[in-house]
Amino acid sequence: MSTPLTPVITEFWDRPDLYTLDGYRAVGGYRALERALTMDPDDIIAQVKDSGLRGRGGAGFPTGMKWGFVPQGDGKPHYLVVNADESEPGACKDIPIMMANPHALVEGVIIASYAIRANHAFIYIRGEVPNAIRKVEFAVKQAKEAGLIGSNIQGSGFDLDVVVHSGAGAYICGEETALLDSLEGYRGQPRLKPPFPAVAGLYASPTVINNVETIANVPYIVDRGVEWFRGFGTEKSPGFKVFAVSGHVKRPGIYEAPLGITMRELLDYAGGMRDGSEVKFWIPGGSSVPMLTPEHLDLPLTYESMAEAGTMLGTGTPMVFDQTTSVVKAVTRWLEFYKHESCGKCTPCREGTYWITGVLEKFEHGHGQEQEMETLTSLCSQISGRSFCALGDAAATPYPAAMKYFRDEFLAATHTSADEQFDPVASYVFAGAAAR
C-alpha cells in the first residue's frame, strides 16, 4: 500500500479566505495559542522536544533542543528570528506557505516566542518576493488588531512585538548568522561559531532562528499533541513535510506527506514523468545536497535514509530531471550560482567557486581537458570543510556527486559541448511554436 498524503499545513489552502484572520480561525486557527498561553513555557519546549520536530531549513536540527539552549532567567532580551530567505535552488515551499497560510506561521511565531521568552520576533523574508511579504505583514497586522500580538496578550501578561523584515537579494543571508548581520543592518556575512545564536545572536542576545515551515508546524503540535505528530513519519524523522516537486514531472506542485514517503510515491502523486521521459537524476532537497539516480527512488525520504544514501533530505523539495538534461550544464549552472552568491569573506569559497566555474564552463562548451576533471575534484576537496560557512561546502557538492554517476558525460565534454550532447530544446517544458 502506498503512503497516503497528509495535508496538515496545506489542509485548507483551497479556502480563498484562509489568509485572513477570520478564515484561519474558522478552521481552528489560534486555538493552539489559546492553549499555549495557559501552559508553562518550559512545558511547550518539552512538548516540541518530545514531538521530535526537526528543522525544515535544511539541516534537520531538533527544534525543541535548539529552544532549550536559550539560557533562561539570564536577564537579557531574547529574540525569535524566522528564516524566510528561501533562496536555495530548488526550494519552493516556504514562499507558498507564507502566501497561502500566513497565520499558521504567525501563530507559530507567537507560541515559539512565548516558549523561549522572547518579546521581539522578526520574520526575515527575501526581498524578491513582495507577495509573500505583504501576506505575512497583513496577517501580523490582523493579529495585532485582534490582540494576539502586543502587550499582555489575551491577559496572559506576555508581551510580543513582531516585525516583518524585507531582505534585499543575497542567498547567503539564509545562513543563520549572516542573516543576523543582515538584520542588524550590515553586509550579510557569516559569523564565527561559537558563540551560537542561542547564546549570542541578534544584538548579542540569545536568539532562536528557525525556518518558516518549522515554525508553521508548532501550532499543530501544540493543538493536536505529540502522539498525533509522532503518528507520522519515522522514529528519527517524525511528522509530515511540505514537499515541493519540480522538474520534468507531469504535475509539479506541493504535496504534503509523512516523512518516509518514497520519491517513487511522490512522483506517482505528481503524475509521473512527462510523456516519453524517465528519471535521469533527482535531488531530494536543494542544489546543496548531492544528486541521486533512479536506483534511489524507493528510499524513504527521511533525514536518516538520505544520509545513508550519501545525500541529505535538505529542504525536502525534490527536483527531478529527465534524460534530456545535460548533467554538465546543470552542474555548471549551479556553480555559477554559488560563485555569484559567495559572500567573499573566506578565500577557499571566494576563489574556489571562481576557478571551478571557469573550468566547468570549458566543459560545458566542449573544451574541457581530461586532466581537468582531476583539477575539479581537487578544487572541490580544497573548498569542502575548509570554508568559513556551509555555502562553501555546498558549492563543492554538485560536481563530485555528478561525477559519481555521470563521469562519461564529463569525458564527452572534452570534445562535445553540452548543447551538442543534449539538444536544449528537448528539455524545455513547452514545445513546438512556444519553443520557437
Binding site: T6, A91, E128, H165, Y171, S182, Y203, I254
Partner: protein, 212 residues
Amino acid sequence: MPISDSTREQMREIAARYPSARSALLPMLHLAQSEEDEITTDGINACAEVLDITPAEVTAVATFYTMYKRERVGKHHIGVCTNTLCGLLGGDAVWDSLVEATGAGHNTASPDGEFFLERIECQAACTHAPVMTVDWEFMDDVTPGSAVEVIESLRRGESVQATRGPAIRDFQATERTLAFPDDGLADAPSVDDKMLAGLQIAKERGMTGGNA
C-alpha cells in the same frame, strides 16, 4: 534629487520598528530606491544621516545586495530565472526572447527606459518553471511567447495580472512595498492549482492529516 523631508520622516518611522535603529537599513534603502528608481548618493546620504552612521558604511551595505541598483531601473524590472531548473526547462529561451523584444540586457535598461532586465537566481517557485518576474511579482510558467506578450501588454499600458499576486504596478511601487509592506494588496489571489496539487488528490481519495 535630494531625498525629501517626508521621506526622511518615513525612514525614521521604519527605524522605530527595531530595538536598534540600524536594523532598518535594508528597508530604508528600499524606500530610497522607491523614491529615486536607483540607489543614489542622495539616498545613501539620507540613510546615513537618519541612522547617524557614515555614508561609507551605508555604501558598503548597498553594494552587497543585488536588489539595490546603481543605475536607473526605469518603469519595470523584469527578472527571468536562469538558475538550473528554470533555465534548462526553458528559462534560457525566455531570456533570449525578452532580450530581443526589449533591447535590454542583463542589469541594463531598454533604450526607451521601460524595461530593465535581469537574469535572476532561483525565485522559490521551481514548481512553476520557467519563472519570470515583473517588478518582482510572479509570472509563473511562462514561454518565450507569453513572456513577450506580457512585455507588449505593459507597453500598451494594459493591466497585467501577476499569476500569484496583484496587478502589476511599477518597480518603484514594489520597492515601496518592501519598505512598507502593508500596501493594501494582500487580497490578491495567491494560491493556484500547483500549490493545491497534493490537496486535491488527498481530497479525491479521502486522505487526511487529521489522524495518522
